[in-house]
Symmetry: C2
Subunit: 193 residues, 2 copies
DNA sequence: ACCGGATTCGGAATCCGGTTCCGTATTGAG
DNA sequence: CTCAATACGGAACCGGATTCCGAATCCGGT
């Protein structure tokens, strides 16, 4: 259970896996998720059997591709968002990236979306992403960018909403980000009415 | 092209169509969209061919069911939301209904969602629904419940987001409605920072 | 009430795409 | 170089949507 019996997979096998994943990323980004397993196999220059060896299921393949996108977002967040001293801008930047990634890569949307929407992410990368969300949230609470009752779940729910919306009207998610962040801001003075 | 040559469909045919749609509504509501055409046919007491006569495609059947849900929402909106003098409450009530309808009927979510998310709705009912959104929006602008730059599209985008989110975490959409409406409210005084 | 063409029905056959299976080819340690 | 282990390719299999067509049913006219 706790060992790693899968030591040293055969070298070329590993290479093939990479190639399949690579090709799948491109195809999904290009043609959405109507791409079929046989096409991926052909494009990667392997047989379907090989695709299935590395990704036991179509769904698994999609998730692997999604994991890639997460990684992109993660890298971007670290490089561009966290460093931004303006927390609001950092949040906008973070959420916008999610929308942008979806504007390309329509196909993997559902997978990414599902992962973002739930609070129980599977992959390693997703966990790190969650950590970044937490960091931004903490900053926002500390510097008053976010209202005191804000929760990470809120942030990820919004991320999920952005991802979902991007499927129907590319670009509209910018408006959603604006509204949502506005909604998470504290009312500066007390309300009068 | 512009005539209605399909006058007077045979009486029982119309009856069957209704029955199939009826049964499909229940099955989808109960078991989500993994219900298969043959099941619908069996449950309706007809052959698959008959189902396909009335709904040329699985997708078409789903959309027909979705149309039903729209109608429900429409009726509810007219009866419960519009009469509410508090515009904010009326909006909450309206959006909440969308979330609730999705909490049941998981299966048709994607269809409803797509229709809500886009600004180009197909069905008659969807158009009427859009009108209601417009009415609520106008009220909100007039009485200051909504910030002046609010647009119907915003409202429907939020509705779409509610629908989408409800697929992952039942109930969380309440929080989204709160945040979104807060975000669409005018800042009472000018911002200071 | 009865007839005949139009329309609808039922469900077997077909098509499609994901998934499985297994004989063959490749890898790499000894 | 040899052999066991591992990976490969792609034909076969399967489930589920969709199509097809002879049989059954409707309905206006007689």
């Amino acid at each position: 259970m706790s060992k790693k019996p899968d030591r040293k997979a055969r070298a070329d096998a590993e290479h093939n896996r990479g190639r399949v994943l690579e090709v799948a990323c491109e195809l999904f980004a290009e043609h959405g998720d109507e791409v079929q397993m046989a096409e991926v196999a052909r494009a990667a220059g392997v047989g379907v059997g090989t695709v299935y060896r590395h990704f036991p299921t179509r769904q698994a393949l999609i998730e692997a591709v999604a994991e890639r996108r997460f990684a992109e977002i993660l890298a971007f967040a670290r490089a561009e968002c966290l460093p931004n001293p303006d927390t609001r801008q950092a949040l906008v930047c973070f959420l916008s990236r999610i929308g942008e990634v979806h504007d390309r890569a329509r196909g993997v949307s559902s997978a990414i979306e599902a992962a973002l929407g739930s609070t129980e992410p599977r992959g390693q990368v997703a966990v790190e992403l969650l950590a970044i969300g937490q960091a931004l949230l903490d900053r926002g609470l500390a510097d008053g960018t976010l209202r005191p009752d804000s929760k990470v779940d809120d942030l990820y729910m919004i991320a999920g909403a952005v991802a979902a919306i991007s499927r129907y009207a590319a670009g509209d998610w910018r408006r959603l980000i604006d509204i949502a962040l506005e909604g998470m801001s504290p009312r500066l003075p007390a309300r009068s009415e």
